[in-house]
Symmetry: C2
Subunit: 151 residues, 2 copies
C-alpha cells in the first residue's frame, strides 16, 4: 500500500486526482503500478486501477490475473470494480472508503450480485487516513486556486 500511496502522490503532482494502484503476484513481486492519468490521457476511464491491471496482464502475457492482489488507495468505482472482476484478481485491498463514487461497498456494489462471475476477497480501510488526507489536500488546493482565480 505504501507504493500505491506513492503513486497517488505522484499523480497529485501531475494535477491528477491522487489515486494509486499496485498489482502484486502470488510470490509478492510487483507486476505493475500506476497513478490516475485521466487528465494526461484525456480519458475518463484512465483510472489507476485500470492502467495497473492492464499493464500487469500484459507483463504476465495473459488475459487474467488469477493469484494476484490489487492494492489501491481509494475504494474502486463501478468501472474499476468490474475490471477487477474481469481480470480475476484474487484479493482487493483498498484504502479510503468512497461513499460518493465507490462501487464496492457503496452504490451498485458490483461484487454483490449473482451476475458477478468472479469475486475477489475484499479488504477495505487499509491506511485509509493517509489516502483520504491526500485526496482532502488535493481538493482543498483545487478550491483555493479556483477561489483565487475568481477574484
Amino acid at each position: 500500500m505504501q507504493q500505491a500511496l506513492a503513486e497517488a502522490e505522484a499523480a497529485a503532482r501531475r494535477g491528477e486526482v491522487p489515486v494509486g494502484a499496485v498489482v502484486v503476484d502470488a510470490g509478492g513481486s510487483v507486476l505493475a503500478a500506476a497513478g490516475n492519468e485521466v487528465e494526461a490521457r484525456g480519458d475518463p476511464t484512465a483510472h489507476a486501477e485500470i492502467l495497473a491491471l492492464r499493464a500487469a496482464a500484459q507483463r504476465r502475457g495473459g488475459k487474467f490475473l488469477q493469484g494476484c492482489r490489487l492494492f489501491v488507495t481509494l475504494e474502486p468505482c463501478p468501472l474499476c470494480a468490474a475490471a477487477i472482476s474481469l481480470f480475476r484478481i484474487d484479493r482487493l485491498v483498498f484504502g479510503a472508503y468512497d461513499p460518493k463514487s465507490g462501487g464496492v461497498e457503496h452504490g451498485p456494489r458490483v461484487f454483490s450480485h449473482p451476475t458477478c462471475h468472479y469475486r475477489p476477497e475484499v479488504v477495505g480501510g487499509v491506511d485509509q487516513t493517509a489516502a483520504a488526507e491526500l485526496l482532502r489536500h488535493f481538493f482543498s488546493q483545487k478550491r483555493d486556486s479556483a477561489n483565487s482565480a475568481g477574484r
Copy 2:
C-alpha cells in the same frame, strides 16, 4: 444499429464474442465504431463499447461525449455501463438484453444509484433478434468445435 451489427459480425469472424458499438454525435455523424477485441488485445476490458467511446473522445479532442449517442448490439456489462456514464453519453441504445452479464437492466444496474453522477437516456431491445442470433450462432459453433476437439 446496422453499423454496430456489422462490427459484431466482423468481431465474430476474428473469433471474438460478437458485440459491436458505434458512437454518433449530435449531428448524426459516426465518431467511432468498434467490435470486441478481448482476444486480439489479451485484455478482458477491450469491449466494443470501451474501444468506441475512447476513440470517439480522442477524435473530438475532449474527455467527454456530451450530446452523443452510443449504439451497441448487447446490453452493456457493468464495466461498460460505468464507462458510458464517465464519458457522459446522452443516449444509450442497445440490442439484446443480457440477463447473465448485463449491468444496465440486470445485476448492479449501474445507472440506478444516487452515486451515478451522469445517467444516459436508455433504449433497450432495438434489433435485438439480430444481435441475439449473432451471439447464439457464435456460441453454438464454439460448442460444436469444442465437442469435435474432444472426440
